[in-house]
């Protein structure tokens, strides 16, 4: 079935993840249609993509000919009807169940019956996303990591109604585009976020409990365990508001106390200490350079 995938649609292609996923598809030689709601945002994403490929050429990771070929594979649209020729549509729209369900229902009407739908959701259930759609057997979870254009890992999850054939076809496509898929069940946060969200919360609780400063916690984790980033540096990068949203997505489903929003996190968000983007989180940032901690 892999060879039957020739054209790929990306929904939410002007967003952080969608733009990266479109790069992955186009770079591997697939005709890639970028769909989003606003033309300006799509134009901005196109510029960023050109910049990314330009850097790849500078770093000798791709030739100029490959760059032109990849860019020629990419087109952009604000009309969902333009996805009619897609064999695979990957959605990376807002992390909201209703938004994703409505999108899949619309795609059902637009796309031919063989088209596979993949969701890049981080926290929602693939089965629930697929539930309003007429082809639940052709909906799979395909969770890329940020930044999608650089990170090889994809968590692949079948929903309860996904057929083996569809799952295999989607899996084969991820291999074909040079990614590294791992299979997980359709459970909240799959593997990555199921381990990471509570772990990061525990680090916040350790600061709150006076175990150590953020700097000492990050030093211990990096030096003791060989992690590239400490949990508090990572939360500053992700954004403390995003961490709250992750907790709000997980806790009501799992009731895992470690997934509940730590009180310190709520207070810091209320105080505007959102992390790197706000210049202050667990660390203070000056022109993006980290100090203190």
């Amino acid at each position: 079935m892999t060879s039957q995938i020739k054209t790929v649609g990306v929904c939410g292609a002007a967003g952080t993840m969608g733009a990266g996923i479109a790069i992955v598809a186009a770079r591997a030689g697939f005709k890639t249609i970028c769909f989003d709601t606003g033309e300006d945002a799509l134009a901005r994403a196109r510029k960023q993509t050109e910049g990314f490929f330009g850097k790849s050429v500078e770093r000798a990771k791709m030739t100029e000919a490959d760059q032109s070929a990849a860019l020629a594979k990419l087109s952009a649209t604000t009309q969902i009807a333009d996805l009619a020729d897609c064999d695979l549509v990957i959605e990376a729209v807002f992390e909201d169940l209703k938004t994703k369900q409505i999108l899949l229902e619309q795609l059902d009407d637009v796309c031919p019956s063989h088209t596979l739908f993949a969701s890049n959701t981080s926290t929602l259930s693939i089965t629930e996303i697929a539930s309003g759609c007429a082809r639940q057997d052709k909906v799979v979870g395909m969770h890329f990591c940020l930044p999608a254009q650089l990170m090889k890992l994809i968590e692949m999850s079948p929903g309860l109604n996904t057929s083996d054939e569809s799952f295999q076809a989607a899996w084969d496509w991820t291999v074909q585009v040079g990614q590294m898929p791992v299979r997980t069940q359709d459970k909240p946060g799959f593997i990555l976020n199921a381990l990471l969200v509570p772990f990061n919360n525990d680090a916040i609780r350790a600061v709150e409990a006076g175990v150590a400063t953020a700097g000492d916690i990050d030093t211990a984790i990096k030096q003791g365990l060989g992690y590239k980033m400490g949990p508090l540096e990572l939360i500053d990068l992700i954004g403390l508001d995003t961490q709250v949203r992750l907790c709000e997505a997980f806790y009501p489903i799992t009731h895992d106390p470690r997934a509940a929003t730590p009180p310190l996190l709520s207070r810091m968000v209320a105080a505007g200490h959102l992390g790197r983007k706000a210049g202050r989180g667990f660390y203070q940032y000056d022109d993006n350079a980290m100090f203190g901690g």
Partner: protein
Amino acid sequence: MDYAIISHGPSRSFPDGDDFLTNAVREASITVHVGGGAEADTAKTAVLVELTTECLGVYTGEDAGKEGSNMLGFARYRNGDDPPSNLIELVRQPNSDEAALDAARAVFEGAGFQVAISADQQGRIIDRLVRPKYNDALRFLDEGLAAAADIDLTCRLGLGYADGPIERVERGGLVHHYEVSQRLFETYGTPGYAPARRAQVAKQRADNNE
């Protein structure tokens, strides 16, 4: 900075022949107790006590949050049976002597270690944070979320970890994980610290074979 070693038994932080042991002097104003013992000595700049899963308060006594002296705890982080890491968790109490802390930091950093200061709480920094994650990973394996190799690969590729949680906890020893988690569970009582079933099985097998 000079330090003297007082050995009470084998050290988890500094196995036999470790440079830190061989570079010690006979007499110094800083004494480092290794292998499970300690003696207070207020005449010293610092008295450093190696800890495993116990708190520093076990050696110093506690005083309603006012405790603190020239006696500090430390542990070089070690994943069970793995060789020790380069990280020293240096344990202080609320009123620990600041000169003792500075001296301890100088001793360990002078020997090439990285130092992270931790309050005298169960599990210090690393075990407090990683043990629930290992319990989760072991539970995910039981529940069929993914294969062990895929859980590990996901953490290495997706999070940039040097190794995955299953391979790491198994290499360090599930019995060790059980013992550390159980201590944390007794202290905090939260489900994340309850030793995972696979660690309980390993512990029961070890007990049966004794």
